[in-house]
């Protein structure tokens, strides 16, 4: 099957054509936002990282920023740094430029302050946008798509309607040569014994179990009761009692058919097609940011309680597990999986409908989060601020 996407110089294909203005450090956030605000067609993000981080944490931030800007939905990128930070803006720009896309870097201390940096950034950005304006979509194979799977604000129906629908979509994409990323390590705790049976090798199985052990030991080491964080109050109100119950529902997003090919770190780009697991937290925004940094061009997000978050550079398709929430939050929901519970549609039928919508969205159709201009960004932190 085919869709219409933007070809990139490194052979990848984007489903959006965006200019990203990316601060390399928290201190450059305001400047990056001001540059993007002058440029019609540019997006920007803010974050709290890039300096005063321990090495492993700094490396994860760097990998995530490089990956996010390298995502094929990003047509061109302007990196904005301060100058004295640990994370070097010029190195970041050089690593993103390996994709062949236009990349520029601006360092505020070298440019001579905020106003000079903004002025230069706007000039560079306008040139980039002009070049992007003549880029056209072309027919591409869906095997070139990476789908990020996410669930947030789950309720008891999520595991019975929305997540199994996502699973059908994932199985369909993989059957045609594409890739799906399952994430949220906390939310496979208690269901890993099922997922691990699908691992293609002992090595992949061990990596998955190690990730789960790390996620769980984070709670155990602090003497904390994970129940105070997960399930959330909304999950419980929605009928989910335990993390194990939530997890057993969550893994339905990974479908039933595809073997687990690979386990990757947060923000890392997978090397295998098919089903991949990324070690991310259950925090929706951090998880989506990690998957997009790993190359996901589109996100399928299931929810029961209703959630409104998006991603600045990737369309997020929201599927609601139940009709009452869908009706209540129609502004934020793209699809309703509620008819499954009412016996009016099958999981397969709604899976095929959702798959069709994903393809339309990858060819340019907007999602509710895009229409609202929503985009959230958060990098998973693995060390305390120094």
């Amino acid at each position: 099957m085919k869709f219409m996407g933007y070809p990139r110089p490194n052979g990848t294909v984007g489903v959006r054509n965006l200019l990203l203005v990316l601060p390399s450090v928290v201190c450059a956030n305001d400047t990056a936002l001001r540059i993007a605000a002058q440029l019609n067609g540019a997006v920007s993000v803010t974050h709290q990282h890039g300096c005063a981080q321990l090495p492993a944490d700094a490396a994860q931030t760097y990998r995530t920023l490089v990956g996010f800007a390298s995502n094929p939905n990003v047509a061109a990128c302007i990196v904005v740094g301060l100058g004295c930070e640990t994370l070097n803006a010029k190195n970041l720009a050089a690593d993103v430029a390996r994709t062949g896309k236009p990349v520029a870097s601006l360092v505020i201390q070298e440019e001579g302050g905020t106003i000079a940096t903004i002025a230069k950034g706007v000039v560079i950005g306008r040139e980039m946008l002009s070049g992007m304006s003549v880029q056209r979509r072309e027919e591409r194979d869906i095997s070139e798509l990476t789908l990020g799977l996410e669930c947030g604000g789950s309720d008891a129906w999520s595991g019975l309607s929305g997540n199994p629908v996502a699973g059908v979509v994932s199985d369909m994409l993989i059957a045609q040569g594409g890739r799906s990323i399952l994430s949220e390590t906390q939310e496979i705790i208690g269901a890993e014994h099922i997922l691990v049976r699908r691992a293609v090798s002992d090595e992949v199985a061990d990596k998955l179990l190690d990730a789960v052990k790390r996620a769980e030991s984070g709670a155990l080491a602090g003497g904390s009761d994970i129940r105070l964080a997960n399930p959330t109050p909304g999950n419980k109100e929605g009928g989910i009692s335990t993390l194990e119950e939530k997890s057993l529902g969550c893994i339905a997003k990974a479908g039933t058919a595809a073997p687990l090919q690979e386990v990757v770190d947060y923000g890392e780009t997978p090397t295998k097609k098919g089903l991949v697991f990324m070690d991310t937290p259950g925090h929706d925004i951090e998880s989506i940011t990690g998957m997009v940094a790993g190359g996901a061009q589109v996100i399928l997000f299931t929810t029961g309680r209703g959630t409104c978050t998006g991603c600045p550079v990737a369309p997020v398709v929201k599927i609601c597990s139940n009709t009452p929430t869908y009706v209540k939050m129609k502004d934020n929901m793209d699809l309703d999986a509620g008819p499954i519970i009412d016996g009016k549609a099958t999981i397969r039928e709604l899976g095929e409908k959702t798959f069709g919508m994903i393809l339309a969205v990858c060819s340019g159709q907007t999602t509710k989060t895009e229409e609202l201009g929503y985009g959230s960004f958060a990098i998973n932190r693995i060390g305390p601020t120094q």
Binding site: L160, E216, G239, T346
Partner: protein, 117 residues
Amino acid sequence: MEGSFVQDAQVAAHRVTDRDDVAVALRLLEKGERAAVQGEKSTMTVEVVQEIPRGHKVALRNISRGEPVFKYGAPIGTASAEIPAGSHVHVHNLEGNRGRGDKQKENALTERGGRAE
């Protein structure tokens, strides 16, 4: 996840697999009603002993304190109280066993996470 739902107004609760000890209420279940439960291949009825909100779980058998409770064909936690058939199963009588730093001694990580079968 094959467990499909049937369009039958009589069915009041959905049992994901026939191994499960609980079913999900498809509507508000009233105290005293005999609720029809649709399973994978089987059907049963349960006498509801207390009001159960839509989406929440009803016990399909008497579950003793300390017993594992199954849903999706897998354990979702342990009964922390006696749970009579027909009653509401939730955080007040069911507790998760994972990530329990507060119960660390009983929680040896090495005991689980092993490859099944």
